[in-house]
Symmetry: C2
Amino acid sequence: MVMGRPRSFDTDKALDEAMEVFWRHGYDGASLAMLTKAMGIKAPSLYAAFGSKEGLLKAALDRYAQRRCEHMRHVLAGATARDVAERFLSSIAESHTDPANPPGCLLVQGGLACGAGSENIPFELASRRAQTEADLRERFAQAQRDGDLAPEADPAALARFLSTIASGMGVLASSGADRDALREVARVSLSAFARCREAGGVPS
Amino acid sequence: MVMGRPRSFDTDKALDEAMEVFWRHGYDGASLAMLTKAMGIKAPSLYAAFGSKEGLLKAALDRYAQRRCEHMRHVLAGATARDVAERFLSSIAESHTDPANPPGCLLVQGGLACGAGSENIPFELASRRAQTEADLRERFAQAQRDGDLAPEADPAALARFLSTIASGMGVLASSGADRDALREVARVSLSAFARCREAGGVPS
DNA sequence: AGACTTATCTACCACTCGATACAAAACTTG
DNA sequence: CAAGTTTTGTATCGAGTGGTAGATAAGTCT
């Protein structure tokens, strides 16, 4: 064991609580008082462990990504491009309305626009959202190489479309929409995907 | 004219400046100092005219709605349901990337999640977003009565789908996506709409 | 003119913000 | 044990928060 007084709190458990606060109130709306109360620690412990409020957010985002990573692995393991899209959309519909979490998506609720001194937070969140889109794009490019997706199809456009739906579903869920509403959006969206996949392009 | 010293600033002009600040920084991120500087007035004038920070936001939202109302009138005047959807999506793609405004949509950027004391702002924004969805739903219901939309189609689901896309495009635009990217999302989305309109439902 | 009404400006309110100095506490090492 | 190392709690920092009191300016009314 390392020297010194041992930490009296569990880092991951504390991060889960911080994540929830950022999720529910956004970066600017999450005050240090809220965070320390939820995490069950005092400010100096927070700063010793995470450096700053922004550092705490990044650590929470890392943990969030780690959680979602398992889901994405399952999504990307779909046999066909359409299967991947279907898994992605329904996984979003479920996770964004999981009663165990605040509604919506941390990467959207966390802060699309922030105040002075937090200008880089929206950028940070955007780059994490872009990661998911990149995963989908790469998977669709692979599907295209496999002949599962038409050569005229546009993997980047399809990935962006799905990613946009996911963000929109985050907004929808945060407005109080229920799970069935999101599932319905997922179904309609999937039909767009299927159509583009079949046609390889988009009808005028 | 009314008694007393006349107002030295133009209310609508000041609201436009306030709108931009809320749009770019969100409700929590927009400080009184930012707002008064942008509006070119001092705090007491602001409070005399709008009552509170929340009152100012609501006034700005009213003006935003007023602006968008013209666009929506054009959208809803589309000859067919599909025409309406096409007009809606392309109008969103253009307006959310209009260089004259901050990127995205005020009703999304304004604040999906807020801090203590601003809990009702996300609710306020959600109710304004719901208005657009309701307009679309009603127009589609009319299209159904006109026989332009299949009897098995679901006007509410189609309206929610389009509204979700619009929110997603707001998030996308705020991440720095350019106009062509949004147009592409609009095209893909429109194909989903067309398919649902034809089939009257959604393929499994 | 002078009374009345409304807006504007300076200065300031109590409070909260994110962040930290410092000393006591809790552990490992010698 | 004592020395060294890290964490914890208390108490507080300066800056910024939304909001306002009170005096002054700029108009309309009779």
